[in-house]
Every structure is written in structure tokens, then in C-alpha cells.
């Protein structure tokens, strides 16, 4: 066929429409799950945490997290005296295998499980140059592994240190709040396996959720509230020394 300049001008838009309809298939929807009916968060009852590390192990098994990297981890705080500005914090291997005995006595010590706070106004999603990370309609901060360039902006932007660059894929990785589980009516792997009920998934759009009721009627706190990130991981019994 003899392609003239004029014919090319007709052909190009036609090609664009063909690509659009043929190459990009329509996304499949999760059955029986309506995203707009949920707004997910998590409750951490610090008064119950025993620092066993089961959550860290479960997260690694569920999400195939490489060794030495953590989507969730447990920190142990020790405040020797009145100065909550200077806590001693340790987290050997993310607390995965528990904690050695405390060497110093006196003062107070406790465990603080940490993970992505699934901020509604998250700094990490705002800095992504390609739209690879986002807050889903049901309030979960996710990373599109196919779109991420691995530029690490989001890793620097997260004030909670919850992101890392996955060395296997060279893309940003983080807690998905077990999106593949909560879509199917299950709870997250960490909440499922937590033996003391420290971690509990909460649906902030469901007024009948008992955990939602708990948050409604108890004094809870989020981490770094001064950053106004609208964090959705609520801590009960949080000490002022926790950063």
C-alpha cells in the first residue's frame, strides 16, 4: 500500500483507538466487595503486646518479604526515669524472634508494634512522580509494582520509615494491609496471628465494628500527630516517649 502523507494523517488516530481498545483490557473487579463501603484502619493495644514477633513472621510469610526488610516490626522502649525525651529503643531483627532480657531494671519498658499507618493524607503518595503509589478508595496506601520506577522518593517521604526498596524487584514495597485478604472478608496476617489481640483490623465506615466502637469510646493516639498525615493506625496506651 502506498502511504501518502494524507493517508498517514487518517491512519494515526485510527491506530490510537485500536491500541486503546485492544491492548489495555478492562480491570477485573473483586466479587462481593464494594470498595466505597470500607475505610480501613488498625488498632494497636500496646497494653497487650508481649513482643513475641509472631506478627513480623506472619507478615513475612504472607507477603514474601525478603529477609532483613520489614513491612511491620516491633520496637521495645525503655524509659529509665522521668525523661520521656530519651527512651532506649531496640528492635533486634525487627523483633521477629522476640527480645533478649532487659539489662537495666527500673523505669518502664514496653513494646510498640509498628507498620504503615495508612495515612489518609499520606506524604508518600504525594511525592510519587509517576502515580505508582496511592490511597485506594477503601483507605489503603498501596504501591503499583508495575508502575514504580524505584526512585525512592516515597521511602524518604514516609515520616514513619515504613517503606523500603525491595531488592528483588527494585521497586518500593510496603504494608498493603493484606489487601488481598481484607478483600475476601479475612483479617490481615498480623491481626490473625497476634496471640494477645494487640492488633485488630478496624473498618472506620462500619459503625457496628466492635473495634470501631472501642476507638470511638477510648483514648487513642496516632504516631506523629503533629504531621497531620491523618494516620489510621490507632494506638491505645501509647506512651509519650514513642516516636
Amino acid at each position: 500500500m502506498n502511504i501518502t502523507r494524507r493517508r498517514l494523517l487518517y491512519l494515526l488516530p485510527a491506530a490510537a483507538i485500536a491500541w486503546d481498545s485492544l491492548i489495555a483490557g478492562a480491570p477485573e473487579a473483586a466479587p462481593n466487595y464494594n470498595m466505597t463501603d470500607h475505610w480501613w484502619g488498625l488498632l494497636m493495644d500496646i497494653t497487650k503486646c508481649i513482643g513475641c514477633g509472631t506478627c513480623v513472621q506472619a507478615c513475612q510469610a504472607e507477603n514474601n518479604v525478603p529477609d532483613g526488610y520489614f513491612r511491620t516490626w516491633v520496637e521495645r522502649y525503655h524509659v529509665a526515669d522521668w525523661s520521656i525525651e530519651n527512651p532506649i529503643v531496640d528492635s533486634p531483627d525487627g523483633g521477629k524472634h522476640g527480645f533478649p532480657p532487659l539489662e537495666t531494671e527500673g523505669g518502664k519498658s514496653f513494646y510498640v508494634p509498628k507498620m504503615c499507618n495508612h495515612c489518609a493524607d499520606s506524604p508518600c503518595t504525594q511525592v510519587c512522580p509517576v502515580g505508582a503509589t496511592f490511597v485506594s478508595p477503601d483507605g489503603v496506601v498501596l504501591v503499583d509494582q508495575k508502575y514504580c520506577l524505584g526512585c525512592r522518593y516515597c521511602i524518604q517521604a514516609c515520616p514513619y520509615g515504613c517503606r523500603f526498596l525491595n531488592p528483588e524487584t527494585n521497586t518500593a514495597s510496603k504494608c498493603t494491609l493484606c489487601y488481598h485478604r481484607i478483600n475476601k472478608g479475612l483479617t490481615t496476617a498480623c491481626c490473625e496471628t497476634c496471640p494477645t489481640g494487640t492488633r485488630q483490623l478496624v473498618d472506620l465506615k462500619n459503625p457496628n465494628d466492635p473495634v470501631h466502637k472501642f476507638i470511638e469510646t477510648h483514648s487513642v493516639q496516632v504516631l506523629k500527630p503533629h504531621l497531620a498525615t491523618q494516620a489510621k493506625v490507632f494506638y491505645y496506651g501509647l506512651d509519650g516517649s514513642v516516636r
Binding site: P27, I50, Y179, H180, N183, L186, C194, G197
Partner: protein, 167 residues
Amino acid sequence: MANLKDAGHLFRMAAVFVVGIVLFLVLRGIFVPRSFGQYGHYRGAALAEIASKPIMFAGHGTCESCHIDVQEVKSKGVHARVACESCHGPLAKHADDPTALQPPKLDVAVLCVRCHEANLAKPKAFPQVVSAEHSGGVVCDTCHKPHSPRIADADTASAENPSGDSK
């Protein structure tokens, strides 16, 4: 007409712009996935991709649908609210096909102390022991049955079972 003849360079310029815009639309059609912008400034299809990942932990509800006997013992003990897979590990494959994956034998020497080894940072009300001093080398499940670990409970349970009485 003479004016239009002089304006030929403007038409050529316009043609370059039109070609550029068409080329932009074509490339955009090729490189921007269709679901981009469906919910916001991201690929909407990514949600379904993330949601379709396989599950590793079946959830205690799934376990209890078969292991009713264990659930009954457990529900009366102090481990009632400890999920099966907290100790037994991820067993969704076993739940899908019980013959495909048998749960591994558990090492009580590791598992019990993971929670119950004494540590000053643990809540005071949580039962804790210094394992080295507590049993003198006797394995935990000699006395404490993991599904209902309080010794008084275990005694009544083992006294009940041989006689066949349900209560």
C-alpha cells in the same frame, strides 16, 4: 489570494502542530494504561492485581470448620483467642487440600517461650516464666497441653476423656 500564498509557511507550521498532537495522542494511547485515572492519579487495575495475590494464612474460621474437636477444647482454655496459625504457621495450602500439605510438627521448646519467656517489658498480667528455671528441662507439653494449657483444666480433661463422659 496573494495574501494566502504568502501565508504558506503558516499552514506548514500548523500541519507540524497537528501531526505533533496526533502523535502525542497515539503515544498516550499506547503507553498510558486504560485504567489510569479510573479512581485517581494511578492505574485502577493495580487494585485488582494486588487483591488477587494468594493467601497463606487460612484464618481460624477455616481451620475450625474441620477441626471442631480442637476448637471445643481450645474454647474452654486460656488459649481460646489464640488463632490456630499463630502456632501452627501458615496453612492455607492445607486448608485448600488437606492431603497436599501436612502441618509440620511443632517444637514446643521454641513456641511456648516465644510468648511466655519472662521479660520486663511484657505486661505484668501476662503469664511469664524463666524457662531455664521453670521446669528443670522437662518439655512444656509434659504438663501443659497447648490447646488448653492451664494444668487444672488439663487434669479434668484427661480424667474425662478415658471414661467417655462429655461433661
